[in-house]
């Protein structure tokens, strides 16, 4: 066909002209990921990329967990000689950086990449090629960090890398560069995904999905994406400045020539505190979805829950100084941050009360996803309470940088984000893989995780109060910390076993699990309207949404929109507030350019920790790759 013919006929054949089966077959050809290695490298299907993201993030969870186990074994008894100081310092830095940047943030984004398009009823995420690119960049960042570690150049400056320890004078090796550049990789990918999610939620919602019908998980990812928008530039700026200090001799964090070491801490925590909510808010979104599905009723207080998410997002930018109470800042300013930090307990509290009310009023069906949510409430409330304690300036001067804080943030992050996440794995696994996970193993998984977690981390509160600082590779027997440390190590091993069980359950279920129907939990949101696993095009016809829980409101048949092309990839683009469809926009086809761009960008980043000239010779290939990416290929997607 000539271009002109393509252009005139583009979108001429419509879905209404076809029977259900032929429609499915045609859409399958149109949207399917091509077979073979090239298809694998070029795909832009958000589900394929989402699956990759999830698998990769869980891989990093495993090696991050192993690094934690190594540290726990070292600390199990005083003056252990299992691991030396140098390796231990790398291990805790790797553990923190890996868990924050390579696991927690990406795994939440991964779930969003997979489920947001399904939940809002569209066929692909906005900017699918950017999505592919973001995954490759993320993967490169992770490989880069861990390769450096295995080459003996693992960063050893802590995950918040305080200057001036990171400056050339005190860290002459490339270790801090590895840390800083890993940040760049993961931030680029996180920012890209955030743009995709925001635009998908704003513009690609199914007809009728007004703002007050958006599923809570989607709201949580929307707020999270905005947090990424405004928090991550701070760490980009900080890590870039650090690399410049180290590479070309700028003086940002050098005292004596006008720089200031506390500037680093301000920039880092301006990012670092919202970062906690970037991890935690998606967790709460998952909880809201699971609670509604298993309490067998919509969530109590949809509006308060959504407003709490938004309020938490705003407040999270006003708390960063509570990480700096021991730096000797003016006291009046510090007490402002005490108040704002404690105030964030209010929106979190409201969410918890809403879940309690939903469970109270519904009739909960106790399955593994709900078990993890119940465990989440019990654990997270403790983390929230200790959070209020560390927000108090006087208390913080005692517990700051001790194991009390280590306990606190693991209660918040594992309790507040990982427990919901594991619940979400059990909940959505049937949708992703088309099979149910094993319920009996699931219960074992939960109880091992719950017991192991508390055994591992509760004693750390006491250790911190007893004066044990964090980030110490050893301690003397006279300190009397041995017993609690041994307990924590045993707990950590049990917790690790629970993750092994989860992995086993998941792997086994992909082959031997009971086949899952479209909507195995009889839940109310759109991701359950399509088959398990969903076809490449998600929905043969785009659903028309009439209610916040469309599948509960339309028990017999789903209203759908018709008239999309079956000859080129089309998505419906709609208005922001009312989701009234306005255009049938073309959606990109598979492309190798995102991968090629990620490769040249990776070379650029890698080169620039060795020489500033990498900026000069690294830029032209990126420009070429970007032109290749955006230049029209004469395909039906490009030409209208």
């Amino acid at each position: 066909m000539t271009d002109a013919a393509v252009a005139t006929s583009a979108g001429r054949l419509r879905d209404t002209a076809l029977g259900q089966q032929e429609l499915a077959a045609r859409l399958d050809r149109l949207w399917g990921t091509p077979r073979g290695i090239l298809g694998w490298l070029t795909t832009v299907d958000h589900k394929v990329i989402g699956r990759r993201y999830i698998a990769t993030a869980f891989f990093f969870l495993c090696i991050g967990g192993l690094s934690a186990i190594a540290m726990r074994l070292q600390l199990a008894k005083p003056e252990s000689r299992l691991i030396d100081a140098d390796l231990y310092n790398q291990l805790f830095t790797m553990h923190g950086s890996n868990m924050m940047f390579l696991f927690a943030v990406p795994v939440m984004e991964a779930f969003a990449v997979y489920f947001v398009p399904l939940m809002v009823g569209t066929r692909n995420i906005a900017f699918p090629r950017l999505n592919a690119f973001s995954y490759w960049v993320y993967l490169s960042g992770g490989i880069f960090l861990w390769t450096s570690f295995f080459l003996g150049e693992g960063p050893d400056v802590g995950w918040f890398a305080y200057a001036p320890l990171t400056e050339q004078q005190y860290s002459p090796t490339h270790r801090p560069d590895v840390w800083a550049q890993m940040i760049t990789f993961t931030e680029v990918s996180a920012l890209a995904v955030s743009v995709e999610i925001i635009v998908t939620v704003f513009k690609q919602r199914a007809p009728g999905m007004t703002l007050d019908r958006i599923p809570v998980f989607v709201w949580s990812m929307l707020v999270t994406s905005f947090l990424v928008f405004f928090a991550m530039p701070a760490i980009m700026l900080a890590s870039t400045s650090l690399i410049l200090d180290r590479l070309v001799g700028t003086q940002f964090f050098v005292s004596g020539t006008g720089g200031d070491v506390l500037l680093w801490q301000h920039l880092f925590w301006f990012f670092g505190h919202p970062e906690v909510y970037i991890i935690f808010l998606p967790g709460t979104g998952m909880v809201s979805m699971i609670v509604a599905a298993f309490a067998r009723r919509p969530i109590v207080g949809y509006l308060p829950v959504v407003l709490s998410l938004i309020a938490t997002g705003f407040l999270s930018f006003g708390l960063w100084v509570h990480h700096m109470f021991a730096t000797g800042l003016p006291q009046m300013g510090a007490s402002f941050f005490t108040a704002s930090s404690m105030l964030i307990a209010v929106p979190s509290g409201i969410q918890i009360f809403c879940w309690l009310a939903t469970l109270w009023d519904g009739k909960p069906v106790i399955r593994t996803p709900l078990l993890f949510v119940l465990g989440f409430v019990v654990i997270f409330v403790i983390g929230g309470m200790t959070g209020v304690m560390v927000a108090s300036v006087p208390l913080d001067t005692q517990v700051h940088d001790t194991y009390f804080v280590v306990a606190h943030f693991h209660y918040v992050l594992i309790g507040g984000a990982v427990f919901p996440l594991i619940g979400a794995v059990y909940y959505w696994f049937p949708k992703i893989c088309g099979r149910m996970m094993d319920e009996r193993l699931g219960r074992w998984n939960f109880w091992l995780a719950f017991v192991g977690f508390n055994l591992a981390f509760f004693p750390m509160h006491i250790l911190g109060l007893q004066g044990m600082p964090r980030r110490v590779y050893t301690y003397q027997p006279e300190m009397g910390w041995g017993g609690l440390n041994l307990t924590a190590t045993v707990g950590a091993l049990i917790l690790f076993a629970s993750f092994v069980l989860l992995l086993w359950n998941a792997v086994r279920s992909t082959r031997h699990g009971v086949a899952a129907p479209d909507n195995p939990w009889d839940a109310g949101t759109l991701e359950w309207a399509t088959s398990s696993p969903p076809p490449p095009y998600n929905f043969a016809r785009i659903p028309v949404v009439t209610h916040r829980e469309p599948l509960w409101a339309e028990r017999d048949e789903l209203p759908v929109a018709h008239g999309l092309s079956v000859e080129r990839r089309e998505v419906l683009v709609s208005t922001i507030t009312e989701a009234r469809p306005e255009i049938r926009q073309a959606s990109p086809e598979p492309s190798i350019w995102p991968l090629l761009t990620a490769i040249v960008v990776g070379i650029f980043f890698l080169g620039s920790i060795f020489t500033p000239w990498a900026v000069v010779w690294g830029t032209p290939p990126i420009a070429v790759a970007l032109v290749g990416w955006f230049w029209p290929k004469g395909s039906r997607e490009d030409e209208t």
Binding site: Y170, S392, T397, D401, G467, R470, G480
Partner: protein, 335 residues
């Protein structure tokens, strides 16, 4: 609560037996640490009650008997409204509690950071990985420098000015007060007040590089008379060594690289890079609380510092056996 407290206290008392001194925020030995500990118990009591309430409600919500809804969307509007209001009022209650917390925290903060004028001042400078302690006096002849062991008189307010020579460290004596960072380009202060004589252990609380774990110190609080006697002893230059072994030791010290980094007042050694050793033998430990001061540990430390504290900036001694034992004998005589 009560059992929890008893558990915590019994756990703490284990560390009290330690010879290296107390290091626990739950074992306050002065008004500053006491005030923070009181605040902690108050927070803990309220938080524990709320947590218990949440767990009880959660359990009842899960197990209470009730009929299932035929359809998830069959909701009674009046009941929904009531639940919405309940949630919001609980949210309001949360707000009231955290405001109360913020207020009592602020009151404690004002007391802790009040600016009293009396008392003595000393300076503590953090180094990778040891503490330099400077006692300044209006009469320069009474100035002296020591390391890793801070002596203070009891019931006297001590103002510790905190500096660093390299990266960020954090000065922390949990039994006496909270912590404060030592940051280049900034000068911070921490007030200490010991109510009872004793040895209180402290440790660096900000990660500062490879041997962060082995950067401890102790605060020795004693009666004012004992303190004055100690200070007078420290002001004096080192006494000349007695006996051939110790004289040889001094010669070894002065003829090797030791003097590049260390000062012993009364000798030609005036290095500023490492700890002042003028009265080394009056101290209880070596290498920033890493090992007790005994001839054996000291010899081992000088011969191979990397063994005791890998990464330390002290180079290996490179001495023959006789030289080493002479040096140790000399240093052990520096009372």
């Amino acid at each position: 609560m009560a059992t929890g407290r008893a558990f915590l206290i019994s756990a703490v008392s284990l560390s009290l037996a330690a010879c290296s001194g107390r290091q626990s925020s739950l074992d306050p030995q002065g008004p500053y640490a006491q005030q923070i500990a009181n605040l902690f118990w108050a927070f803990l009591a309220v938080c524990a009650l709320i947590w218990l309430a949440v767990c009880v409600v959660l359990s009842i919500a899960v197990i209470r008997r009730r009929a299932a809804r035929p359809q998830p969307l069959e909701l009674a509007p009046a009941r929904e409204r009531m639940m919405g209001q309940l949630v919001l009022s609980l949210g309001g209650g949360t707000g009231v509690i955290v405001i109360a917390f913020a207020l009592i925290s602020y009151v404690a903060q004002r007391n802790l950071w009040a600016e009293p004028n009396s008392g003595m001042t000393l300076r503590v400078v953090g180094h990778q990985w040891w503490w330099e302690v400077l006692y300044d006096d209006p009469q320069p002849a009474r100035n002296f420098i020591t390391a890793n062991e801070i002596h203070i008189p009891v019931n006297t307010l001590v103002r510790v000015r905190l500096e660093t020579r390299d990266v960020i460290h954090s000065f922390w004596v949990p039994s006496l007060a909270g912590k404060m960072d030592q940051i280049s380009g900034h000068i911070n202060e921490q007030l200490l007040l010991a109510a009872r004589p004793g040895i209180y252990r402290g440790q660096c609380a900000e990660f500062c590089g490879q041997e962060h774990a082995k950067m401890a110190f102790s605060v020795v609080a004693s009666s004012p008379e004992e303190f004055d006697a100690w200070r007078d002893g420290q002001i004096r230059a080192a006494a000349p060594p007695e006996g051939p072994e110790r004289r040889r030791g001094r010669h070894v010290f002065e003829s090797h690289s030791c003097l590049v980094c260390h000062t012993i007042r009364g000798t030609i050694a005036g290095g500023k890079f490492g700890p002042d050793l003028t009265h080394l033998a009056s101290r209880r430990s070596i290498a920033a609380g890493t090992a007790p001061l005994t001839a054996g540990h000291l010899g081992g430390w000088i011969a191979d510092p990397q063994h005791l504290k890998p990464g330390t900036q002290m180079p290996p001694g490179d001495l023959g056996g006789a030289d080493l034992s002479a040096l140790v004998a000399y240093l052990m005589g520096l009372q």
